[in-house]
């Protein structure tokens, strides 16, 4: 690889009691790359994200971000270094309007540091960010309580909360799950725009068709192990992948 990798995962292991959730995971991520992680349910995709973002401490192995060892650091410190993530299960603050949900990421020390001070008006910044992910300003969707929003908007809100942190690496954990085709189609351009802006992205996805359209590379997990990796088309051809994943979950 010509440029230094942004993220390096080296021989990562994680045991939960007797269960090996992640076994010997290795991969590298170049700046600006979009990596897809796929695999059947329970194959360790979300655990991998949790290990990288510090929500779970690995049993062994190393995670390097911008050449710096971040293994086992607390989650909030890893975020401050520039890794933002979304959650598969969106749990916004339901009683608050959507834009007020953005206040917490905008309160982050990382954002304060980057702007060189405090935001004057966090509400205004929140509304701008929400418009970026498709909250129509004219329809005043951003002012509605999160409990009144459909799933598609909640996922956009989750994405906006990650973008608000101005991260170098965004990890999207099943952003498309539970969304209709139309909703997915309307969120895809937002992700493509992020790429144009030079963000590095990891996507955990079950929606393979959409993922393969935008991903540079894909790695396949099964029972916590990487069973294949490479360009999307090549991965699809691999017999092991067909066996483990597509054979059982053909759509």
């Amino acid at each position: 690889m010509a440029t230094a990798p942004l993220l390096e995962v080296k021989a990562l292991h994680k045991n939960f009691g007797g269960v090996q959730a992640i076994r010997d995971l290795n991969f590298q991520l170049a700046p600006g790359e979009l990596l897809g992680i796929i695999g059947p349910n329970g194959s360790g995709k979300t655990t991998a994200v949790n290990l990288i973002t510090g929500f779970v401490k690995p049993s062994s192995g190393k995670v390097l971000f911008k050449g710096r060892d971040i293994t086992g650091q607390p989650a909030y410190r890893i975020v401050r270094l520039g890794i933002a993530r979304t959650f598969q299960m969106v749990k916004p603050f339901y009683q608050l309007p959507a834009y007020k949900n953005m206040i917490i990421p905008l309160y982050s020390p990382r954002v304060k540091k980057l702007i060189g001070g405090k935001y004057g008006d966090r509400d205004a910044v929140a509304l701008d960010l929400l418009e970026e992910v498709g909250f129509e300003r004219d329809a005043r969707v951003a002012y509605k309580a999160a409990s009144a929003l459909p799933q598609g908007y909640l996922k956009r809100l989750e994405l906006a909360k990650a973008i608000a942190l101005q991260p170098d690496l965004v990890i999207l954990d099943e952003l498309f799950s539970g969304l209709s085709l139309a909703e997915v189609a309307s969120i895809l351009p937002i992700i493509e725009k992020l790429r144009v802006e030079g963000k590095t992205i990891i996507m955990i996805e079950h929606r393979l068709k959409e993922l393969f359209r935008i991903a540079d590379r894909v790695i396949v997990l099964n029972f916590g192990q990487k069973i294949a990796g490479g360009r999307a088309a090549d991965v699809m051809e691999s017999a092991a992948v067909k066996n483990a994943y597509l054979g059982s979950e053909e759509r």
């Binding site: 929500f55 909030y76 916004p92 608050l96 309160y107």
Partner: protein, 333 residues
């Protein structure tokens, strides 16, 4: 024809929601009224009450402060069953400073509030990671442990406690000091909780992983909330010590843990005003029921159940809703 109840925001509520819309004294009064009313009541009450009820007012204000302290913790997702820890720590610190070093109350009360708060926060620091009932259990046990510690080691007067504290110079100072502190805490912390900082605290309660993933150190913020809450509680304890001129094992009693929670629940948690209102109802109620003799606690418990069953949202939220919205029955087609 089936009907459903519709709740509609009052016109004046909508108009006065935006600062720019205020154009009449009526609208300004609508906004200021609910805020000025408690201020007037608190400032007026000491003037009209007799000596006995003035003491009750002190007790009301102290329990209201403890309930506010409980509510601040609850908003940050920490359910405390041990307000007595904060209260008792403030009481003992002021007692020690006054008894052994002879410091005047003007020094001991602020010092006890701050030091008591710091000590309580330090004591609870190791269990800050515990969530839900586990945190609650520890807070419940700590004051009970400290009582036994005082009893067994006979420190600070042991079972007899320390008496002969310097009293506050006048009963008017007593009254207005605690009432002023209550109003300051009520309005100050309400403002704090509705700011962006307060939003982060409430975020920790609702979904701490989401706050963590915003790069915010939730333990640091929990520590801050704990320090604020325990300082408020310690202040209440320090104050009452100088009023009673005594500090001893009863300051860690369960009453100081349970009554603030009852006040906050009856009044409506989550607003601080509810907690204060709850204290203003429950403490006098308990005094009135003294006439019932042995049945006092039975009646008291009955009232608690009635309040909670009839108004589960809390009295304050009920009143707030009535103030801001009107209701009507509309036909469902």
């Amino acid at each position: 024809m089936p009907k459903r109840k519709e709740r509609v925001d009052r016109g004046i509520n909508v108009r006065s929601g935006g600062v720019f819309a205020l154009c009449s004294w009526r609208e300004m009064l609508y906004l200021a009224g609910p805020r000025l009313l408690p201020v007037f009541i608190c400032l007026f009450l000491p003037l009209v009450l007799d000596a006995y009820w003035q003491k009750v007012l002190l007790s009301v204000a102290v329990f209201a402060l403890l309930a506010i302290s409980w509510d601040i913790l609850a908003q940050t997702g920490m359910i405390s069953l041990g307000q007595a820890l904060f209260f008792g720590m403030g009481a003992y610190v002021t007692g020690i400073l006054n008894h052994y070093w002879g410091m005047p109350p003007v020094l001991t009360i602020p010092l006890a509030a701050v030091c008591g708060g710091l000590i309580c926060t330090t004591l609870l620091l190791p269990v800050l990671r515990l969530r839900g009932i586990y945190f609650s259990m520890v807070t419940l046990i700590l004051p009970l442990m400290l009582v036994r510690l005082v009893e067994a080691t006979r420190i600070f007067g042991g079972t007899e406690g320390l008496s002969g504290m310097t009293p506050l110079p006048s009963k008017w100072l007593e009254q207005y000091m605690i009432v002023g502190a209550l109003l300051a805490a009520l309005f100050g912390f309400r403002r704090m909780l509705s700011s962006d900082y307060g939003l982060v605290l409430k975020g920790i309660r609702d979904n701490d992983r989401s706050v963590l993933s915003a790069g915010i150190n939730i333990y640091w913020y929990k520590t801050q909330a704990l320090l604020i809450a325990s300082t408020v509680g310690a202040f209440a304890g320090a104050f009452l010590t100088h009023v009673y001129m005594f500090v001893g094992m009863p300051v860690f009693a369960l009453d100081y843990s349970i009554l603030p929670i009852a006040a906050a629940v009856v009044g409506g948690p989550g607003s601080l005003a509810g907690a204060t209102l709850g204290a203003f109802i429950l403490v006098p109620l308990s005094e009135v029921l003294r006439g019932a003799g042995g049945l006092r606690i039975v009646f008291y418990g009955m009232f608690l159940v009635i309040f909670i069953v009839a108004l589960p949202e809390g009295i304050f939220h009920f009143l707030q809703r009535k103030y801001h919205q009107f209701e009507r029955w509309v036909e469902v087609d």
